[in-house]
Symmetry: C2
Subunit: 505 residues, 2 copies
Amino acid sequence: MDGPQRRIDKLTSILDVAKAMVAQRDLDALLRMIVREAGRVVDADRCSLFLVDREEKVLYSKVAQGMGPSPRIRVPLGVGIAGATARTRRPINLPDAYADSRFNRAVDLSTGYRTTSLLCVPMFNTDGDVAGVIQALNKAGGVPFSDEDEELLLALGGQAASAVENALLHEEIHQLFEGFVKASVVAIESRDSTTAGHSERVARLTLALADAVERDGRGPFAGIVFSPDQRMELRYAALLHDFGKVGVREHVLMKANKFHPHELTLVEHRFDYARKSFEAESLRRQRDRLAAGERLDPVLMDEEAILSAKLRELEAARELVRRCNRPTVLPAGISAPLAQLAALSFLGPDGLPQTLLSAQEVELLSIPKGSLSPAERLEIESHVSHTYRFLKQIPWTRSLRRIPEIACGHHEKLDGTGYPLGKAGQEIGLEARMMAIADIYDALTVSDRPYKRSVSHDDALEILSADVRSGKLDAEVFRVFVEADVPRRFLEDGEERTAERAAAR
Amino acid sequence: MDGPQRRIDKLTSILDVAKAMVAQRDLDALLRMIVREAGRVVDADRCSLFLVDREEKVLYSKVAQGMGPSPRIRVPLGVGIAGATARTRRPINLPDAYADSRFNRAVDLSTGYRTTSLLCVPMFNTDGDVAGVIQALNKAGGVPFSDEDEELLLALGGQAASAVENALLHEEIHQLFEGFVKASVVAIESRDSTTAGHSERVARLTLALADAVERDGRGPFAGIVFSPDQRMELRYAALLHDFGKVGVREHVLMKANKFHPHELTLVEHRFDYARKSFEAESLRRQRDRLAAGERLDPVLMDEEAILSAKLRELEAARELVRRCNRPTVLPAGISAPLAQLAALSFLGPDGLPQTLLSAQEVELLSIPKGSLSPAERLEIESHVSHTYRFLKQIPWTRSLRRIPEIACGHHEKLDGTGYPLGKAGQEIGLEARMMAIADIYDALTVSDRPYKRSVSHDDALEILSADVRSGKLDAEVFRVFVEADVPRRFLEDGEERTAERAAAR
Ligand SMILES: [Fe+2]
Ligand SMILES: [Fe+2]
Ligand SMILES: [Fe+2]
Ligand SMILES: [Fe+2]
């Protein structure tokens, strides 16, 4: 046995490693750290680590020195040296592995390695369960592993068990959080089936654009680096950018024409009523003229002419309403007939004259483009402030604290014409500039309204480039978006819409 | 200095503690463990621990032996012994604390303690930053703390720094997850403003009921214990039980009467049209009779009688529609007039006879109770399967894996008449039985529909008890709900609706 000072040094170094292990929450990096330090502590040539999967009663390995990055060996509990260690809960210390029948030479055969001495110890967690095993091969100097090695490796293994369970728990909670966020985004998008998947696609496009900006590194992007934390922040901001749509009423969200279907039906019914009302007026005049002694034929002839003129006017008005109801750009010179239409009146159910269309209805039909009234447009735009209020309530960790700000900049324009804050120029951060381009590209290339055809890739770039020329979108970010061919690289990600998009192009 | 074996033993014991610290993710319990072990390692009479708040540049303490459970001392960096240790990053080892001007005797004065020897060391995290300090008082035997004590306490402090940062991170992620869940529940409830807060209240009621069931321990509840993990599972299940309402369309969710307002308007317009149509028919007959040579007066008299009979019939029908449209229980003997109403016809805009109400409209008006058609009732009930599909997508950790099952049992009934699965008796777990009672109680005592008055506490218990008698709800769970006065204890929680509920009672 070595001197006590050497042992004290080893224990002290295990303490240092233990501390570092707890701070390492990335499981793969942690496992690499453990095998490296295990090798150092017992002066082994190689080490490997197996974790116990209690559900499936197997050991699995994610790191083994000398076996490439991700060996993924699976061994049933009880089988081989590692399996025996896990089952018996006792260290196995062999001066010559080949002399032990439990040793499986297959690994040596496949790697060309030659194992002689072998030390395998269980990693006990704080509940006293075996969380895994550490296996050390070929002690330096060709001697067998000592009792002290056994003891030190057991100590290291115990620390490792705690650290690994901790990292696994972290990974689980992260997956739980991410899973919940994604599922709730999907649930909210399901209200408006035509935007399904939009948020996830905007997140992918934005992250791909961030990669491209970082790689580009020219001009304003010199030295731009997105850390893993910043990427995570950007990803959640993009996933959640339209979350506030849950606060916009469905009939506004899904409005296809200027009138809702039932509003159009109501107007049609009013036209029918007016028609019947004109007819009744005419019949009343006919009766009165006959009662006053006039002859039938001339009365019928007069009244027929008057009524059919009225009805022609009415049907022309009905046609005009149907045309103006569509969300397409209003034809030039249509405002005069619309104004005229507003003046048409008939006798209503209360016996008083009323106009065929209310002032509000005429205003709605006069919307020059799209289907939304100014109030409805504001309601749609309010999705950003709903997103903001939602995101602001959440106790983000330090590294995610800018999520509300980034998410809520996606409709801001560099020239200050965006919403909700009308931010301009430098007030809009790089993340929001990137997200704005990703958002518009996806909205254009997907048919997000039943009446709206999707636009081809090239046409979408043309529309974006017009927004760049008019000073709304960032020219440099757009240059990278195009040069790095971000949307197509994103498509190569194995996105299910590839075929659909290809067809649209 | 003690012998090397003693040092080896101490180091080994620090390793054991380090492992246990990592596994302890409850911060307060962890801090208590650290001061206890610190005292043991350096043979001190008392220990305390301060953490650094980097934002505010202060040290704060959550544990100090001999100072009650939660001392919450705050010291600016640089002030006192602890502050000096944190600022200079060096241990301070005093044989007699009172001889050092930095020592603050105020704490001794307030606790009646007499400090002599004192050892204070920084807790370095893996980045080399000071995460806090550990202070040990009064070494056993009245001697000063040794160099070895200093070294051991530094080692323990380093492990503690890692473990504390880890526990803080866990707490943060848990708060982030919980915050996100709560905020998204609030966002979804905001669609139907009248159910705001329902999920949070059901969660509180259910947890309070679980406490009461555990305390009761009688009959079927003997040995029932809810672990902290099970409580968390139950709480999330209750918070999320109605999440699937996001998949139910607003106009169904918020339906007040049998006809939607615009549907009623349409029916009223049809009645107006029919009235005008009857009038036009009458005028046509008058004209024709005059043209055939009849005298005006008898014609007017006849037609007046015919038309006014028609119009009386029409207005009676209109009144009947208005009455039947309400969601209250239909009066007995109303189905005959409703059927008659369906037979009334008039000449429609296309000149053909049409009925005043469609078969579908008559069916809707014939709903014996409530405002929902069978299809709409199914859509409302589909919220449970939407909740299930949503929850099933989420990668819950092992300890939360029953959330989908628990959440989706809240409308099942013991007699098998519930939904979505029509489970009966023992198929329905205790958690779902508790949640069912909490859910109904809250729905009854809050006015969740504009037309629906909320019910008093006593009336709600009477309604629940009728459901128990008819074999739908669990009698024992309901007994505990009443005996432990769960809703009122829950009200005493400082719920904002206390006043409102008191008024309703
Ligand atoms: Fe948006
Ligand atoms: Fe968007
Ligand atoms: Fe429900
Ligand atoms: Fe509910």
